[in-house]
């Protein structure tokens, strides 16, 4: 929010209709777009992992641990855009020390802490405990010391103890699924409860956010799985890819249906805001909503996944289609976040005018900061994978094959 006079003049000249003076400049920029995008990836990756654990979908075995680690990496990075946007990150601790029980945002701090400490870290710990103990015996130097600490001094890997780990891990996953729903449902709740903004105010918002989160989480895990397989000189297992593709397809269909329902409901209800929302879509969000979200981000990947899963194609082509479709899905879901966060601020509360948003490259709210915050979870994931290698050596049975040299 440090636009130059020239920027402000440009924004004002780009605005049309009647815009209240305090609405010309947007308060929420790229960082707030990044926040729901990252939390969505967390929830989606965790739900994908829980499908293997709770429903016993064995084809997903090669991505189970990878999904958990990806969820943790994204969860650790997710609050950073908010803290960077607000400034004074140390003040966020006050939310825990003196919580305001009437504030959804304050209460969400506890949901977040619960999800991080009780769900994700515990599940990863119980799942890796056997390996941690083994590594603490086999490794040397600093890594041995690290694994010793991580084992909490317990080196019992008897069959009874491991059976208990498995049971409790399953229980945590079952508790974790509603927690993951809460985590991302809340982000939609925050937007959906802004009753002064007709673009946001909808009871469907938490549900739409949740399903778009599941879609984006599955897509990002699919991409991470393919890329990590290539880096290990393996071919991604087709059974796993097919299952992920199928689940992604179903989640996308539900997501699309919910969004269509929201859209049709708005059109049929035709509240007084419908005219400005029509203008908003036609004049300001045409590229990001119609082109990027609907055509590129939903329809194209739907066709791509259907062909990859059910078409008679060579495996190489299928892999390429899955990869491209998952990339497009991520672009599409980022566009969803953009359209919600930026779109909701582009029209005036007078319902008579539209303003414009100008992205800056540098600075705290700039494009490079946003890109950095998107890359950061992948760096964290790299470190996590180094500490907790997710590959057990049983992937071959799930269809992974060594790439021909």
């Amino acid at each position: 929010m440090h636009e130059s006079v020239a920027d402000i003049a440009q924004i004002i000249s780009g605005a049309t209709g009647y815009v209240y003076p305090n609405e010309y400049l947007l308060q929420w920029g790229l960082l707030i777009v990044m926040y729901p995008f990252l939390t969505g990836l967390v929830a989606g990756a965790f739900i994908l992992a829980s499908l293997e654990r709770v429903l016993g979908i064995k084809e997903l075995f090669p991505v189970y641990r990878l999904s958990l680690l990806a969820a943790l990496a994204f969860l650790l990075a997710a609050p950073l855009p908010l803290l960077a946007h607000l400034g004074h990150p140390e003040r966020s601790l006050e939310m825990f020390l003196t919580p305001n029980l009437n504030s959804a945002m304050a209460m969400f701090g506890f949901v977040y802490a619960w999800y991080l400490l009780v769900v994700l870290l515990l599940e990863i710990w119980f799942d890796y405990r056997k390996q941690i103990v083994i590594w603490s015996r086999e490794k040397t130097g600093a890594m041995k010391f690290l694994y010793k600490i991580l084992s909490l001094g317990i080196d019992d890997i008897s069959p009874e103890a491991l059976r208990f780990d498995d049971k409790i891990g399953k229980f945590i996953t079952i508790v974790g699924v509603p927690s993951a729903f809460l985590l991302h449902g809340y982000v939609g709740f925050i937007f959906g409860s802004v009753k002064a903004n007709p673009w946001w105010s909808s009871v469907l918002m938490p549900v739409v956010f949740l399903f778009s989160a599941i879609v984006s989480g599955m897509a990002v895990v699919l991409l991470i799985y393919m890329v990590t397989a290539w880096f290990r000189w393996k071919k991604p297992g087709m059974a796993c890819l097919h299952k992920m593709g199928e689940l992604l397809l179903y989640a996308m269909l539900v997501d699309l249906a919910l969004e269509m329902l929201d859209f049709i409901h708005r059109l049929y209800e035709s509240e007084e805001s419908i005219h400005i929302l029509r203008d908003l879509v036609a004049k300001r969000l045409f590229i990001s909503l119609i082109i990027s979200q609907v055509v590129l981000g939903s329809l194209c990947p739907l066709v791509g996944i259907v062909f990859a899963r059910f078409g008679k194609l060579p495996d190489e082509v299928r892999r390429m289609l899955y990869f491209l479709s998952a990339m497009l899905v991520l672009i599409g879901i980022y566009s969803v976040r953009w359209n919600v966060v930026i779109g909701g601020q582009l029209f005036s509360k007078s319902l008579r005018g539209l303003t414009v948003y100008k992205t800056s490259l540098l600075g705290m709210e700039g494009l490079f900061m946003s890109l950095g915050l998107f890359i950061l979870p992948f760096v964290i994931l790299y470190v996590l994978v180094k500490i907790f290698p997710p590959w057990t050596g049983n992937e071959e049975s799930a269809g992974e094959t060594a790439a021909p040299s």
């Binding site: 209709g17 009647y18 003076p21 003196t98 515990l122 001094g153 317990i154 208990f164």
Partner: protein
């Protein structure tokens, strides 16, 4: 000795109830976290927090005990009556002396010892008068970088009786935001005086001589009624708008035109 006993007792409990050891370790870790959290709360949350509301109760006492710095808006009049009276009749009537000259309690207590500051540089006035779209229409605003760069404001404006150095030539001198919108709207060809009855004295004393505004739908109907009145009373732009004509009585009902259409930037489409 006592640790050996405790250890033996612990082992017996573990075996008796078949409690896995990893849960004990985790329980201890979470216990430590909870204790650290509670200790942090006890340490960092002030005791008076929540006494009256969601804030530190002692903050009220702290504020009460602060020394009074400001003398108030009328304290200066006793010694500086001439300047006070001049300002009281000016646009700055509601701007207290201490806004520009700083807190004056010490100066009132001992005028000889403590002198007030008198800002003469260029930085202070733009705090209120630099262009900001959130400021109300008619509020004098400048783009500081372009408005006589480098020249102190006081060269042209007396802060105790601020007036433009010359009578404004047109409406856009003060109503810049509206003028900007009007310039790109379908009403761009209309002069402000077509809709507003502006007394010449408005330019010199704007608040005492406010311009008139249309007060009924028939005014807009002069151009936009079906059929439009093209008699001599109609404004010159009537022939420029073959569309945008409505049955004024049935179209608006009990609403006024400008409750839906913003006259300074009406819709461009048919």
């Amino acid at each position: 000795m006592i640790f050996t006993k405790l250890n033996a007792k612990g082992k017996w409990l573990l075996n008796r109830f078949n409690i896995p050891r990893q849960t004990i370790a985790l329980g201890l870790l979470f216990g430590i976290l909870v204790v650290v959290f509670l200790a942090g709360r006890a340490l960092f949350v002030p005791r008076s927090f929540g006494l009256y509301g969601h804030y530190r109760g002692d903050a009220i006492k702290d504020n009460e005990s602060l020394a009074i710095q400001f003398a108030g808006s009328t304290a200066c009049a006793d010694c500086h009556a001439d300047i006070f009276d001049l300002k009281a009749g000016s646009f700055h009537a509601n701007v207290a002396c201490e806004v520009c000259h700083g807190a004056a309690a010490d100066h009132i207590a001992d005028p000889g010892k403590m002198k007030q500051s008198a800002p003469r540089e260029r930085g202070l006035c733009p705090l209120c008068h630099n262009y900001n779209p959130a400021r109300p229409t008619g509020f004098p605003q400048i783009i500081t970088d372009r408005h006589n760069p480098g020249k102190p404001c006081m060269k042209c404006h007396n802060p105790h009786d601020p007036k433009p150095p010359s009578v404004p030539a047109g409406c856009n001198e003060c109503h810049r935001a509206i003028a900007n919108q009007l310039a790109v709207s379908p009403h761009a060809a209309l002069d402000c005086t077509i809709c507003h009855d502006v007394p010449e004295t408005h330019k010199i004393s704007p608040r005492q001589n406010r311009p008139g505004k249309p007060n009924n739908n028939n005014f807009c109907g002069r151009c936009h009624a079906k059929p439009a009145d093209t008699s001599t009373n109609a404004p010159p732009a009537a022939e420029l708008i073959p569309t945008h004509r409505v049955e004024i009585k049935t179209h608006a009902g009990r609403y006024l035109c400008w409750e839906c259409h913003y006259p300074h930037h009406p819709e461009a489409g048919p």
